[in-house]
Symmetry: C2
Subunit: 236 residues, 2 copies
DNA sequence: TTCAGAAAGTGAACACTGTTCACTCTTGTA
DNA sequence: TACAAGAGTGAACAGTGTTCACTTTCTGAA
């Protein structure tokens, strides 16, 4: 039982925190290089010169440790796309950069990003109620990063650039899905970006830009005057 | 050493094939319900009343077995989106249905789909040359499903609906990324589709349609006459 | 300063996992 | 009928995450 007040932080507390930090940083180092499969408790224990069971005095389980790595990653990601979205540039450039930064950051730390979306809770059909409530979600780093996207959409609508009939939250989710998909494909299919029939040099960065372009285009205000947020020529 | 000719198929061959089939179908049953983590060799052996080591007489490794499940899944997926894209309906409806079918099929068999994109070969930075050559790729079910998307894009361009300045392969990849992303989010985040601030009923199906709409909109021929395949108002 | 109690750390063990290998048993063929 | 190839097995190996009784170390109060 220790108080939350830092003024009452004892040497023992600091020592404990330092060991905890050493575990995390070793885990971070191994995880970034080899991912979840390369990170075993025994190996981690070896690296920091403790016994495997010692780690359980600091983390309840391996999953709990990895959750902390993922959370830290999403905090960095949040900071990055927040920076992109608030830079001093024309709106459409910022919007594109926001998507591109998201994908780029994910690809830079493939194991972190992949791990953050690797657990399937879908298995049990009875998940009733709310394992994913709005209020609970928006407080997480992941949720806040999503919030940046929502703000971007509403800003685009206020600037009369994006289709005003779109629900900003839904549009942001669509945008998120699009960015997430490219990140995943780039991570899980090496050289996805240069998958073309002809010999044609194409960097990942270039393709990310292209994709961001298309994503944003889908949100643009229709110029044919209908502006109902639906595809032309459909009647259902 | 057995010949490929089915006419020379011996009873032993048929017996072997039957056992092999029983392994696959048991694996399929368990995998669909509990995924890769629920599928252990020992459990599989129990289910089919063989010893664990017997399974290695039919499959080189657990991964090899799972690869077969994934390949079979993608064959089903290919058939489905191929059906969607060639149905007798207006082009834009078919295009939308194609994307929607892809996502829907993925979500129906979450473990299969997730597993198909779960291995990270990205780890080693030196993957030079071609682990993912075009010719090699298009012969796989995954590759053929991708081919359907490419055809769809070119058809849209021929019909003067899609932006003709877009590279069809790149546009198809972007479309794939968008569909893949939504599928992944729906699989890995339960109730992603109803993640909204207000109380507002929204089925996964509805959101899939919405997303497909936006994806397709990004490919539409710009109506402002520029038609250069880039966002308006950018100069780089 | 002493001493109880709470932490920190440990080693062995448990219940798993995928995989291998020497072995037996069955089967088809010459 | 004999023999070889293949099918099937049980035990073992090297891992894994995790637990628990145990010892050691530290700290705060008497």
């Amino acid at each position: 039982m220790q108080t939350d007040s830092p003024s009452e932080e004892t040497p023992a507390d600091r020592r404990r925190l330092r060991v905890r930090e050493s575990i995390i940083s070793a885990a971070e180092r191994v995880f970034a290089k080899e991912g979840e499969s390369g990170l075993s408790i025994r190996r981690l224990a070896d690296e920091i010169d403790y016994s495997p069971s010692a780690i359980y005095k600091y983390f309840g389980s391996k999953d709990e440790l990895i959750d902390e790595l993922k959370e830290a990653f999403f905090e960095r990601l949040l900071a990055k796309i927040d920076g992109s979205s608030s830079a001093d540039r024309p709106f459409l450039q910022r919007a594109k950069a926001c998507v591109a930064t998201y994908v780029d950051t994910a690809v830079t730390r493939p194991f972190h990003y992949a791990a953050a979306f690797s657990s399937i809770k879908h298995a049990l059909p009875e998940n009733g109620g709310g394992p994913l409530s709005w209020d609970g979600f928006v407080t997480t780093s992941k949720g806040q990063a999503f919030g940046v996207l929502i703000s971007m959409v509403t800003e685009g609508q206020e600037l009369d650039i994006f289709d005003p009939s779109l629900d900003p939250v839904m549009a942001a989710k669509s945008l998120w899905a699009g960015s997430h998909g490219l990140a995943q494909l780039l991570i899980h299919m090496p050289h996805f970006h240069q998958l073309v029939p002809e010999e044609q040099p194409m960097t990942a960065k270039d393709f990310i830009e292209f994709h961001a372009d298309l994503q944003i285009r889908g949100l643009l205000k229709p110029t044919d005057g209908s502006g109902n947020g639906r595809l032309p020529g459909q009647n259902s």
